[in-house]
């Protein structure tokens, strides 16, 4: 008879007696996730309770790592800096993305070309684009530094001076990621029924009221989603600071992930790095749960 049907039945009714073929198809992926994700996940908790050197025997220390974490000012400074960076980088990304999405949400010719150009930096690696911008901001050979210092905007080297180093990173990140947010907003905008705009225009509404009373309220779910993706991404920032500022000047641009990297792979305090990792996980899981709550409510027009 029909083989598949037999197998499908076997998958349900006989599952307790023999291994379902469906399970066998899923099994390889499951093994990967278990070995390279779930086991390390469990190990984070276990390791965080130990003094765990790179070589040699780990020693159980209970909650010592967490006690040390409370008194670790570099970590708390890092957490504050990461939060500050997230708060500062998000508005420029959204404002630019919103404007760009409006510009490319038209039926003019070549609009596809503009979308492609604005999106292109998204597929360049964060590491590579950080390296590119280090050069652009270099005080000796960089074009942007050259132009900015001629315009009198900057007097010191951008990436090694407090405040401008953060500004430099933010400019790079906006260039690199704005296309992504633009696409999300664009899709949201295109889902808004045009009748609403036509009705508003008949009522004599102009551009600003249309944005505030139609577009932005109807995009709230898309905006919330893009916001969460952007916030999570910013909170995990590493590449750009590692490459562009090296955490300097004076450790002023060390992010949480950067500090975990240093604890585990510069100082080789793997137990302490694990305790930091666990805290990071808790913070980000909280953000993700928030995401689920916000996105549960369906979009209505």
């Amino acid at each position: 008879m029909q083989t598949i049907e037999r197998e499908l039945v076997a998958g349900t009714r006989w599952s307790r007696r023999r291994v379902s073929p469906g399970f066998l198809y899923v099994l390889p992926s499951l093994l990967f996730v278990v070995v390279f994700f779930l086991i390390p996940l469990a190990m984070v908790i276990w390791m965080s309770l130990h003094d765990w050197p790179l070589l040699g025997e780990p020693a159980y220390t209970g909650l010592d790592n967490y006690a040390a974490l409370l008194g670790d000012s570099t970590f708390w400074d890092g957490l504050w800096f990461t939060t500050k960076y997230t708060i500062l980088v998000t508005p420029p990304i959204f404002i630019c993305a919103y404007i760009l999405a409006h510009l490319v949400n038209s039926k003019m010719r070549w609009v596809g070309l503009f979308r492609t150009i604005y999106f292109l930096p998204v597929v360049i690696g964060l590491g590579t684009s950080s390296l590119l911008w280090v050069w652009l901001f270099n005080d000796q050979v960089g074009f942007f530094s050259f132009i900015l210092s001629h315009l009198g905007v900057i007097k010191e080297p951008v990436l090694t001076t407090p405040n401008t180093s953060l500004a430099g990173v933010i400019v790079m990140v906006v260039w690199k990621t704005v296309g992504f947010t633009m696409v999300l907003l664009l899709v949201g905008m295109q889902a808004i029924p045009t009748e609403l705009y036509e009705a508003a225009k008949i009522d004599g509404a102009t551009w600003w009221p249309i944005q505030f009373f139609i577009t932005i309220p109807l995009l709230r779910r898309t905006i919330a989603l893009a916001l969460i993706i952007s916030v999570v991404g910013s909170f995990l920032a590493f590449d750009q600071f590692f490459i562009m500022t090296g955490g300097g000047p004076n450790n002023s641009t060390v992010t949480v992930v950067y500090w975990i990297y240093r604890a585990s792979f510069t100082y080789f305090k793997l137990g302490y790095g694990s305790a930091l990792s666990l805290l990071l996980m808790v913070i980000l899981t909280a953000i993700s749960v928030l995401q689920l709550v916000v996105l549960r409510e369906p979009e209505t027009y």
Partner: protein, 285 residues
């Protein structure tokens, strides 16, 4: 009549302004890459000039030919990146196609729990498990190997890909399964002969994402690769930038950046449609 004419005149004006703004912004977006590329074609001394020259005095491929002998040679690093990216693509495509098929077409005990378990890993940042992952790789003798890095990249890419592939299979009508069954297909033949050609766009998408993610991956490569000859392009470029082998050679750097940007840029330009639609599907769910 006059009114209509004036209105369309204003519209032309508006469109011209729109084009102007769009072109201006496009110029700003392309500028960093364009300048980098131009500089990669300068003579080395010209590229290191301070203040920088806007345009090169002569065009030369000298920076690119010098890359051939930089460290272990650019082909070595490019090859490392390519091996890791291709192994990741193969792993992700193979595993997620099987899992997507399994989750879509079969029912077995614990199916929903397992699917949710795979999806939940999307919420946990991989940055927070790198420390123990280092020990796992060391135990398996995979630390400081390209294969180890590929396996890690594959795993990070799996949740999204399994989700995408399950949706691809879900969108194929079951009537097809029944028709294939009548023709005597078993579940393996149904997958390889009937469904695989239909879900090919999904396969291309997860493959493309896996390639781009793996090619651009920085932190895991930085941690897991310790021998200089095993470095992937971003790590090699980082060392060049930090003057690891002498002073910074800016012309060489820009040539290296161009080479590392090129594969993903080309893939994106060719397969844009798949990339954007998956991006939307993946984030909006």
């Amino acid at each position: 009549m006059v009114r209509v004419a004036r209105k369309s005149g204003g519209k032309v004006y508006k469109i011209a302004a729109l084009y102007g703004v769009c072109c201006g912004i496009a110029f700003l977006f392309v500028l960093p890459l364009f300048w980098s590329f131009i500089t990669s074609l300068k003579k080395p001394a010209d590229a290191n000039a301070s203040p920088p020259n806007l345009l090169p005095s002569t065009l030369t491929l000298e920076n690119y030919t010098r890359l051939l002998h930089y460290g272990d040679g650019i082909f070595n690093y490019f090859g490392n990146s390519l091996v890791v990216a291709m192994l990741t693509v193969i792993g992700v495509v193979f595993l997620s196609t099987l899992a997507g098929y399994g989750f879509s077409r079969f029912s077995f005990p614990g199916k929903n729990v397992l699917f949710v378990m795979i999806l939940i890993t999307l919420m946990i940042p991989f940055q927070s498990i790198l420390t123990p992952l280092f020990l796992v790789l060391r135990t398996l003798s995979l630390q400081n190997t390209l294969v180890g890095l590929s396996l890690v990249n594959t795993t990070f890419q799996l949740p999204f890909s399994v989700f995408m592939m399950r949706n691809s299979f879900e969108s194929v009508p079951r009537d097809l399964d029944n028709a294939a069954a009548i023709d005597g297909c078993d579940s393996k033949a149904l997958l390889t002969r009937v469904l695989l050609p239909i879900v090919l766009p999904g396969v291309i998408t997860v493959g493309l994402f896996a390639f781009v993610a793996s090619w651009n991956e920085f932190l895991a490569a930085l941690i897991f690769l310790t021998d200089a000859d095993k470095y992937t392009l971003p790590i090699m470029l980082l060392n060049a930038q930090s003057g690891y082998l002498g002073t910074v050679d800016w012309g060489l750097m820009q040539a290296g950046i161009f080479i590392s940007v090129l594969p993903c840029a080309i893939l994106f330009l060719l397969l844009q449609r798949y990339y954007i639609s998956a991006l939307i599907a993946g984030s909006i769910k």
